[in-house]
């Protein structure tokens, strides 16, 4: 009782450090909402009794109300913090999330992610002239147009703007345009080599 499940959800999220997204706990969420519903119904019943004279119930009603508010707070904070983590994923990972992460999200969260992607894309298209401005690029100020990269794992073929394809095999080094590789570096496929 007393909002234990809601608190457990919050604790789990707090423990997951570094913005990591743990799986969505549908079952615990459902139980917490069930608890809230039961508290609410009992309060409704007691309020009508209290109005007809039983003042000793007022404390109980107040107590249940506190529990309801507490549950509400825990659940809202849980959902909101998860959304913040999912939003961070768009900026750190890119617009396509790997399946392992998608399994951790509920359907509504996947829906929210898609909407967020769309809003971000619309916004990026609207700034910076005709082709828009990709805000997720150049997170650090660039020093040169082309950069030296080393491949950390096999990634297959990679096509660059002038049509040539490059085979990304482990430990191969290439000299590539910055804007093509930034995504792959952030995902850990390539490594930026400083000369």
């Amino acid at each position: 009782m007393a909002a234990e499940r809601g608190l457990e959800l919050v604790r789990e999220l707090h423990r997951a450090a570094g913005g990591h997204l743990p799986p969505f706990r549908t079952e615990e969420m459902r139980q917490a909402l069930e608890e809230m519903r039961a508290l609410y119904e009992r309060n409704q019943a007691d309020v009508s009794e209290a109005k007809s004279g039983r003042t000793d119930l007022i404390f109980l009603i107040r107590f249940r109300h506190c529990c309801l508010l507490r549950n509400q707070r825990c659940l809202l904070a849980y959902l909101y913090d998860r959304l913040l983590r999912i939003r961070a994923l768009r900026w750190e990972y890119g617009s396509v999330l790997p399946n392992t992460i998608q399994f951790h999200m509920s359907t509504e969260e996947v829906e929210w992610f898609n909407q967020y992607k769309k809003s971000l894309a619309t916004y990026m298209r609207s700034v910076g002239g005709e082709e828009g401005l990709d805000l997720t690029q150049d997170i650090k100020p660039p020093k040169s147009l082309y950069i030296e990269v080393r491949c950390l794992r096999d990634h297959g073929e990679f096509e660059i703007d002038d049509g040539t394809t490059i085979l990304l095999k482990k430990n191969s080094q290439h000299f590539l345009p910055r804007w093509k590789c930034e995504q792959l570096i952030r995902q850990g496929v390539l490594e930026h080599v400083l000369s």
């Binding site: 990591h20 404390f59 107040r62 506190c66 508010l69 507490r70 904070a77 750190e92 100020p141 020093k143």
Partner: protein
């Protein structure tokens, strides 16, 4: 450097942030209190009693979480009254004024400062002294009205100096010994200091323009390996 996850931080001063995970955990900490009237069926509700007819008699001592204390408390004290936990009382205040640095604040309740600020919400004649001891001066926005009473060196100011020093000078070391005795607020400050130091060192080495794999992504990669192995 460019980590995109910005969680809701804990509130400053006497207000909590509703959506902050830190504040929710902090308000779960328990307070000693006293029942001002007979509380029916509280034992069952708090998970302590078995029979549903049991009621806690008036005057008995309770330990309730902060959120419940805030919800049930009112100025006329009809339901419960709260007392200060012992670490905020006179005896401990003299310990802090003697030397604040030796106290293990993590053991005292990992949210010493946050919880202390919340206690000011309950009227208590010792509030100015508590505030003086814990908070004053560092929070520019919410300076509390304190009396001129000569209260020796405030805990926070006393400890802050050492936190700042150690966070700026511990580069690439194991800092667990340093942070073991800090409460959550101090740990957050320590981490901010460390991050600043690391960013500066990175810039000095000329690595500031190097694109790095996002640490978020790296963490996911490590966990995936762990799942496959385990």
């Amino acid at each position: 450097m460019a980590e995109a996850y910005f969680p809701v931080g804990p509130g400053l001063g006497m207000e909590e942030n509703f959506l902050s995970l830190d504040d929710i955990l902090m308000s779960q900490e328990k307070l000693p209190g006293r029942a001002e009237s007979a509380l029916p069926r509280l034992a069952v509700l708090m998970g302590q009693g078995a029979s549903s007819a049991e009621s806690i008699p008036e005057g008995s001592k309770l330990e309730i979480p902060l959120w419940l204390a805030k919800g049930l408390h009112d100025s006329k004290r009809r339901i419960i009254s709260v007392e200060l936990p012992k670490i905020y009382r006179e005896a401990w205040r003299t310990v802090f004024s003697a030397d604040a640095n030796v106290v293990d604040l993590h053991k005292m309740g990992p949210y010493y400062y946050g919880f202390g600020s919340q206690l000011l919400n309950f009227e208590n004649p010792e509030n100015p002294e508590i505030a003086q001891t814990i908070l004053q001066a560092t929070w520019g926005g919410s300076v509390l009205p304190v009396s001129d009473s000569v209260c020796s060196l405030q805990t926070f100011i006393a400890r802050f100096r050492r936190i700042m020093d150690s966070s700026q000078n511990a580069y690439n070391e194991d800092t667990s010994a340093l942070v073991a005795r800090l409460d959550e607020l101090e740990r957050a400050l320590f981490q901010v200091g460390q991050k600043g130091l690391n960013d500066f060192q990175c810039w000095e080495k000329g690595q500031a323009s190097q694109i790095t794999a996002s640490s978020l992504v790296q963490n996911y990669g490590k966990r995936k390996l762990a799942e496959v192995d385990g």
